[in-house]
């Protein structure tokens, strides 16, 4: 299947924590999470719009609405996994004895 998962690459590239750049890493993680959250928000919005238009009887076919919902679900799931990993890594960094 030629499905591609572009976001995984950027978010899981978590390097080994370094003592002096602990806080810089935190900012990096934050930015990545913000970005991912934005994308998830977009997918969710698209899904809601599609579902609304289906309910009001106009616009897209059923499978379009369903696909929009599935994309939103997958984006959300991916985001949650990424967030968990990121939080784990952050906690490890914070646990480091200075």
């Amino acid at each position: 299947m030629a499905f591609s998962i572009p976001h995984i690459g950027s978010a899981t590239a978590i390097e080994a924590p370094q003592l002096d750049s602990g806080s810089k890493k935190a900012a990096g993680f934050g930015a990545v999470l913000q970005d991912a959250m934005g994308k998830v928000g977009e997918f969710n919005h698209a899904a809601s719009k599609s579902a609304e238009s289906f309910l009001s009887g106009e616009g897209d076919d059923l499978h379009k609405t369903i696909m929009a919902t599935q994309r939103a679900d997958l984006a959300m799931e991916l985001f949650l996994q990424v967030r968990n990993k990121v939080v784990q890594a952050y906690q490890e960094v914070m646990r480091m004895q200075v």
């Binding site: 289906f54 009001s56 009887g57 106009e58 897209d60 059923l62 499978h63 369903i66 919902t69 599935q70």
Partner: protein, 145 residues
Amino acid sequence: MSLLSALSVSASGLSAQRSRAELLVENLANAETTRTPEGGPYRRKDAIFSSAPQGSPFSAEFQREMGAYSNGVEVSEIFEDAREPEKRFLPGHPDADPSGYVAFPRSNPAEDMVDLMAASRGYHANVSAMSAVKDMIQKSIDLMR
């Protein structure tokens, strides 16, 4: 909405073919009817089909985009045979006129039977269409599984 509207279209087909069949059956049953409440012999009836856009209760803007997609069918007219009835010479018949002729319907049972089979075939075709479309809609819903 798209596929769901196809169901209305097929339903209209079922309805039209059924009406057509009912009229044909009435013609066959009354092929020899010389006396009717309106007076005179039975007159053959024919269902006239014409295209009819199918509205949907769910959509206000339905007709806007859909146009040709939503063309179902309806019986726009029931055409009654207006020809002179067939006269047969039967002096003893209770409905005979003074000259001994009885007015019979101009019927063609063979043609009506063939038409009835065509109506049945059309009915079944609409049933198949409805079934196929219903399956497609179900497959779409299954994408969520």
